[in-house]
């Protein structure tokens, strides 16, 4: 009986613990545009991050940025700077801040805020042209942001 209780209590602690480690979009703490702490509480997967950066349906970062490492993905845009060497220019915390909400690092930036859920004008339901409904969430999840950051860190000039 006693053991059962302890087991359940530990289980609950782990569950709440995990939950507390995922930072909600409305709770992100920026420090000079950077975010020190992982948003998901778990490490990022650079391979998945690479896919997100090139995928039209996910980050679609190549719509605006050229990335030599993603030469296999067609059509890179030229709105923002080339991302080659981003891992040299910025720390992991800075990259996390830029991807989550670039407008804090670069005032008025055209780059979308990927981890933000408030403050939009006429937010829509994805690309339908209809108003947003209660399924509205950030452009990328906490773990997707971590994956993208883990990938960007690997972009070093030889």
């Amino acid at each position: 009986m006693k053991n059962c209780f302890i087991g359940a209590a530990i289980g609950a602690m782990i569950a709440t613990g995990l939950h507390a480690e995922e930072v909600l979009p409305t709770n992100v703490a920026f420090n000079d545009g950077a975010i020190e702490q992982s948003l998901s509480g778990a490490p990022g997967d650079p391979n998945n991050g690479r896919i997100i950066v090139g995928d039209k349906g996910q980050g679609n970062c190549v719509a605006c940025h050229e990335v030599t490492d993603l030469a296999d993905v067609p059509f890179h845009g030229e709105i923002g700077p080339m991302l080659d060497g981003a891992g040299d220019r910025w720390s992991e915390a800075e990259l996390r801040g830029i991807v989550a909400n670039a407008k804090i690092m670069f005032e008025g930036s055209m780059m979308p805020s990927f981890y933000k859920t408030e403050g939009f004008i006429r937010p829509g339901n994805a690309y339908t042209g209809e108003a947003a409904d209660d399924t509205f969430g950030p452009l990328l999840s906490a773990q997707q942001i971590e994956d993208v950051v883990a990938y960007l860190v690997t972009l070093k000039e030889e």
């Binding site: 845009g77 030229e78 004008i121 006429r122 937010p123 947003a132």
Partner: protein, 281 residues
């Protein structure tokens, strides 16, 4: 004109990857009418842009060539249909457009001034609204749906007889408040992507956004025949698509917001030639 359609539509359009800059090319329509595709920006815009450029300059070689000759321009097939409608009686009064307006060529010079203030209506009217006023109040006919086939075809016909004339919409006097509203909309960053028209079409024209070569988003070429959907498209429908692509709740064609936006965007092209029906991707 019709006999050429099949050949035109069967052509496979190869996507020429555009370089960053608009091309250095001149458009002469049917080897006789020069079309102004780049000119000094109108005074109200001179703080933001030196030059205004037609979307024609941002399209590939084949697309540009198709627009230079009416026999190659698939948009002209829809103009032909509208020319027939112009002569055809419709509605309870038994009248056609030509009953009152004679030849459609008499409409040369009308399109470049729209949208414009209408004293009787007490508001800014687009060309489609003016056409519907004639249909409902003078012909006893039903209004055409906004940007729908018959309306967009007639708008293209009215545009075609004004090609080569400079866009010249009035932005002051009673039209000013709608113009201000349109300007506000143009610079508002909408949707989850928080992008304004200006982000793409003022700050980044000439740049690639993914596979698209960004133009200034001018409407001197509207209605536009798009290779993508092989029909004529209205300016409001284009605005709707661009706003939707910012992950925003968009506005409807014919709405007050789009009337105001059309007036403002048209005014950014004051001085460019009327080109519609033009051809775009």
């Amino acid at each position: 004109m019709k006999k050429l359609t099949g050949a035109i539509l069967a052509t496979v359009f190869t996507t020429t990857l555009a370089s960053a800059e608009p091309v250095d090319d001149t458009l002469i329509l049917n080897e006789e009418t020069p079309i102004v595709t780049r000119t000094a920006a109108p005074a109200h815009l001179s703080d933001a842009l030196d030059e205004v450029l037609s979307g024609w300059l941002f399209r590939g070689t084949e697309t540009r060539a198709m627009q230079s000759d009416d026999f190659d321009n698939p948009g002209m097939i829809f103009v032909e249909q509208a020319m027939e409608a112009w002569e055809t009686a419709d509605g309870t009064a038994g009248k056609s457009c030509s009953s009152c307006h004679n030849e459609i060529e008499s409409m040369a010079g009308v399109k470049p001034t729209y949208p414009k203030w209408d004293e009787n209506a007490g508001s800014v009217q687009t060309l489609q609204m003016q056409m519907n006023e004639c249909r409902t109040e003078r012909m006893g006919a039903e209004a055409w749906g906004y940007d729908k086939g018959p309306a967009i075809n007639m708008e293209a016909a009215l545009s075609s007889v004004s090609r080569g004339m400079p866009v010249n919409v009035a932005i002051d006097g009673p039209a000013q408040s709608a113009w201000e509203q349109g300007k506000e909309l143009y610079y508002t960053r909408t949707g989850q992507l928080e992008l304004s028209c200006a982000n793409c079409h003022e700050d980044n024209y000439g740049n690639m956004i993914r596979a698209d070569h960004l133009s200034q988003g001018q409407i001197n070429g509207f209605p536009v025949y798009r290779l993508k959907n092989t029909k004529l498209n209205g300016a409001h429908s284009r605005f709707k698509g661009c706003i939707r692509d910012t992950r925003a709740e968009t506005y409807a064609p014919g709405s007050d917001e789009f009337i105001a936006l059309e007036l403002y965007v048209a005014s950014r092209g004051n001085g460019l030639s009327v080109e519609g029906p033009s051809i775009r991707n």
